[in-house]
């Protein structure tokens, strides 16, 4: 039966969802592959890692031994876990404290149009970024080797004692941090360069004509305009340095004596390392989850600042 147009108009609210779906069939079809992969490889892993963390499970067959919060309790009293946990945050915060401002300085230098060959410099800054982290870890193993490594050849050549950078419990983590900053700073530099380019050139030209000095331009125009993006870059730098698995695994494997152990290497050891007796997926999942939750909390705490930043940017 044909529905008169007046009736159709009345029915619209009820059928709007169905109509919407039909009208946008192509659009839904186009999102589908992404949604399927998203469900399988993003959503399920998040749910799965929460689910597994409540089981005592060696990965053979489906998890059956539900243990409640026993894994978390075990972690809470595991000094090795907290060691990895603290190391992980020291690692990430060092990037925020060192890499973040250092990258800004380099970006300001590279943003200066008067500097000749800045494209070459920019390219070289990127060299470590695009290199396989695992290879970087192994290269530095050789360069910092106490016997025959270049670094120690230079040190002894200058009359210093050789230093076992990666074999010393006090130096291993700081060394890993320095290498990681060297490796990743290029990304933060590009973030800053992008932010610097949002500062309208006309504004700076106008200020120059009005006789503003360089420092005045920097502090009265560039910095205020950069602040909202600076918050975004801060978060990106922090989040980007939270899982240094590749570097730590190849550089020190968490050693010596767990001095450079991070959560990812701790989790890997319990889940995939053949030196351990049986894999403990439940405990490993709990370890990753606990760390992930703290990261989420920190990110959420930053959200109001970011939202404010976003608003400032739009006005």
């Amino acid at each position: 039966m044909k529905v008169p147009s007046v009736e159709l108009a009345k029915q619209r609210p009820r059928n709007s969802l169905l109509n919407g779906v039909r009208k946008h069939a192509w659009h839904y079809g186009f999102v589908m592959p992404m949604l399927v992969l998203f469900a399988l490889f993003t959503v399920w892993p998040i749910i799965g890692s929460i689910y597994y963390s409540f089981f005592d499970w060696d990965g053979v067959g489906p998890p059956t031994r539900f243990v409640g919060f026993a894994n978390f309790k075990e972690l809470a009293f595991d000094g090795y876990y907290w060691n990895a946990f603290v190391n992980n945050y020291i690692f990430a915060l060092s990037h925020v404290i060192i890499q973040y401002p250092l990258a800004l300085i380099v970006a300001v230098i590279l943003n200066n149009a008067a500097l000749k060959g800045r494209n070459v410099y920019r390219l070289l800054v990127f060299l470590p970024v695009i290199t396989t982290t695992a290879i970087i870890g192994l290269i530095f193993n050789i360069l910092l080797h106490p016997v025959g490594g270049s670094m120690n050849a230079v040190l002894t050549g200058l009359g210093f004692q050789p230093v076992n950078f990666l074999g010393s419990p006090t130096l291993a983590l700081p060394t890993a941090i320095v290498i990681s900053i060297w490796k990743n700073i290029g990304v933060t530099i590009v973030y800053w360069l992008a932010a610097l380019q949002t500062v309208p050139q006309e504004l700076i030209e106008a200020a120059k004509i009005d006789g503003a000095t360089r420092s005045k331009i920097l502090f009265h125009i560039t910095v205020p305009l950069l602040t909202p993006l600076a918050a975004v870059i801060l978060l990106l730098t922090f989040v980007g340095s939270l899982h240094p698995f590749d570097l730590i695994k190849t550089l020190t494997n968490g050693g010596p004596l767990f001095a450079s152990d991070v959560v990812d290497t701790y989790v890997y050891r319990y889940a995939f390392s053949p030196d351990m007796n049986l894999p403990r997926y439940g405990l490993a999942s709990a370890g990753g989850l606990l760390f992930g939750v703290t990261v989420m909390i920190i990110t959420i705490l930053q959200a109001p600042f970011l939202r404010k930043a976003g608003k400032n940017l739009n006005t």
Partner: protein, 275 residues
């Protein structure tokens, strides 16, 4: 004259810094061509006393870098193609379609962006296992390409939503269908985004370590270059010269790709920050 001299000053400071910065790479290139005997002597010297191609050959043949190289090429290309197709389609639908639920999908994507990846490798491993794909190429490819590439989706979304409506409307007037509009009119316009997504994911996948490591633990012949490097320290008990040669083989393609696509790399990152 004075101005010219002043222009040189920064370079006098920068060049030593740059040389130190690049030392690991200079070391890599020089060590790859040094003899094993010279490597054993150690030192920071960068010029090989005796130039040899033996290490490259040893890495390529004995250490199976030929296999690892092909594995890396195959896996990386597959990952990049899957990500481009999936995220371009999703970005198009989310950027131009005003369908119900669109906002929720975008919100869900953004929320997951902040979750660390370390927690998810075990469920992904179990998923691949239950699909009986463990120790196959498909396992590595799916595990790398599967997790929603949020940056890529958002880049495509932003780019598609900024294309003027008139363009689409005139294509509709000409009688073009949805698929034609997408593939012939819209997609070609997103070349910068395709470039950005390609270079990021090429580098990401070529350099991937944890996923190929975990999924090829039992099948060394499926290893990628990144994981294969590792075996140098076992099988050949710290063959430094061989390692350097292998590392050079692994690193060269990314550098070449980067040189070609660097414009997209930088524009892409810039776009991500400016949001």
């Amino acid at each position: 004259m004075i101005k010219k001299a002043v222009g040189v000053v920064p370079h006098i400071i920068f060049i030593p810094v740059v040389l130190l910065w690049c030392y690991p790479f200079l070391w890599l290139v020089s060590s790859a061509f040094k003899t094993q005997r010279e490597m054993l002597m150690g030192g920071a010297n960068l010029i090989p006393q005796e130039f040899t191609l033996e290490n490259i050959q040893r890495a390529w043949v004995q250490a199976r870098f030929a296999t690892y190289f092909l594995n890396s090429v195959f896996i990386t290309c597959s990952v990049v193609i899957i990500i481009i197709v999936v995220s371009a389609m999703a970005g198009y639908a989310l950027g131009r379609g005003n369908m119900p639920g669109r906002k929720w999908i975008v919100l869900a994507l953004i929320i997951t962006m902040f979750l660390p990846k370390g927690t998810t490798i075990i469920p992904v491993y179990e998923l691949i296992h239950s699909l009986s794909l463990n120790n196959t190429y498909a396992a590595v490819i799916l595990a790398e390409a599967g997790p929603a590439n949020i940056m890529a989706i958002l880049l495509f979304m932003g780019y598609f939503s900024n294309i003027p409506k008139e363009l689409e409307e005139s294509a509709v007037m000409d009688g073009a269908k949805f698929l034609t509009i997408f593939s012939k009119v819209m997609l070609p316009l997103t070349k910068p985004v395709i470039g950005t997504v390609t270079i990021f994911n090429f580098i990401g996948s070529w350099n991937a370590f944890l996923i190929p490591l975990v999924f090829t633990l039992a099948k060394p012949h499926l290893r990628t270059l990144g994981v294969g490097m590792y075996s140098f320290f076992g099988e050949f008990s710290a063959d430094w010269a061989g390692f350097a040669a292998g590392a050079l083989i692994s690193v060269t393609p990314t550098i070449i790709i980067f040189l070609f696509f660097q414009k997209y790399f930088i524009e892409g990152l810039s776009g991500a920050v400016k949001g």
